[in-house]
């Protein structure tokens, strides 16, 4: 029979989760609101573009990915009331005006001949920035107090990696000439500049600050 009175540690030896995290409840809610805004804008754009792309495989992928990001928006929307924001629309906001400018520029291409630009905006710029911000949040927040957000981000990151890989392969398969390569690079640079101004999908500090202050020498 198992000895039931024998005490055990509340955290097993292999469970090294730490209590401290970088974000308090308000900061987490603010960031989650920004994430939700980005996911919303992304799934709207993917849905809108379906009718505008002639490539059958791209059309079907955009339709599939559209739902992935809608689901992410829904997960973030459901997390907000748990972070003391009952009116979720109040925090469903862009991080700043630069982020609005980025989404406007990303969603601008419409012509059937601009599939490369559409894909580059999403899969070479926005999604890599989302992966970066979500990974930072997932690793920097408290794995005990904010575990619901960590769990959501784990699900979402799984989608993001898969979608990024599919999108990147579509782009590589569509770039067949130097002229098309230039188009991709020019559009990517244009959007990266806007993202740089925004400071990432959640604004400055989206992926933290890796630099250290050097103390003045005596």
């Amino acid at each position: 029979m198992t000895e039931t009175k024998r005490p055990r540690e509340p955290f097993a030896p292999w469970d090294r989760r730490a209590l401290p995290g970088l974000f308090d409840v308000d900061e987490t809610a603010k960031r989650v609101g920004h994430y939700k805004w980005v996911e919303l804008k992304l799934f709207e754009a993917l849905g809108g573009w379906v009718a505008t792309v002639p490539e059958l495989d791209v059309k079907m992928r955009l339709g599939t990915h559209c739902y992935h990001h809608a689901w992410h928006a829904d997960l973030f929307d459901k997390r907000l009331p748990e972070l003391r924001e009952m009116k979720t629309d109040r925090l469903t906001l862009p991080a700043n005006d630069h982020m609005v400018a980025f989404i406007d520029a990303m969603t601008e291409p419409e012509e059937a001949a601009m599939t490369i630009e559409k894909l580059v905006g999403v899969y070479r710029v926005l999604i890599p920035h989302k992966i970066a911000a979500y990974t930072y949040h997932r690793n920097a927040t408290s794995e005990i107090t904010d575990m619901p957000t960590v769990r959501i981000l784990d699900f979402i990151l799984q989608d993001e990696f898969n979608d990024w890989r599919e999108g990147e392969m579509l782009i590589q398969s569509m770039i067949e000439t130097e002229e098309e390569l230039d188009r991709a690079m020019i559009h990517q640079t244009k959007l990266e500049k806007l993202m740089l101004a925004a400071g990432g999908i959640a604004g400055p500090g989206s992926i933290g600050d890796p630099y250290v202050e050097i103390p003045e020498e005596n």
Binding site: F43, E44, L46, G47, W49, V50, G63, D89, E110
Partner: protein, 266 residues
Amino acid sequence: MRKIFPAEELARDGRFIRQTNEQRMGDPRGARIAGGNSGDRLAKLTPELANGPDRARALMHGIFVGEIQALEGAGRTCWDFEVGEDVPLELKLDMARQCWDEARHCEISVALAEHMGTELGEYAENALLYEAACNPDPVLRLTGVNRALEGLAIDVFNTMKEFGNMAGDPVLEFCEDWMLADEVTHVKMGSDWLRRLTENDKERLDKALEFQKVVDRLFSFNGFRGEEDDSPIQLTRRFRELAGFSDDEIDEIADMSREARVEASS
């Protein structure tokens, strides 16, 4: 990217040829429907017909391009309307879910086309389905697309599933069964949103139901979809009930088909 993307600009590769509504309705032999032409007094689609397999192939291609347009329509509903101002977030989430479902239906249809020996683009495409998805009122759009057209899809998929069953074709029957399950969900979405968004707006409800009738009528050539034994596409009561249609509504569609049939034979 613009709001409301016109049907004539739907992007397709070189395999696909568009047939305009004028060309379709102007065919003196009758408009193309259910894998045949409405002027032919089409019999119920079964494998026993000499041209049964070829009609099934043609109908399957019609389903395929219909799925592409349904995907495009649901996608545009995600983009064309603003959350809060025009529609609730949940409506858009449903439309995004429908995008995924329709994308899968496209994939299934491509596989079925290969199974049945049909080349993509082998038949002309008509954009009537997507046109219903261009209505600027989201309630009318959802009613026209999700209740009228996806309702028709229930009938078509059930007919094709039965065709597969009669032919002993396990691939066709399996695929149609899965797509049918999704379509019931989509029609239910349409029924639910119609009720929610017009709860206190009788005028809008009436307009939406009228639009649904217009779309249903457009797809009732010769009463090809009905409850008669020889209707090419069988009206499917059981699945329509699951999807939120009342008995009166189903009776009305059956009556509409009967009237169209009488009109055609006179």
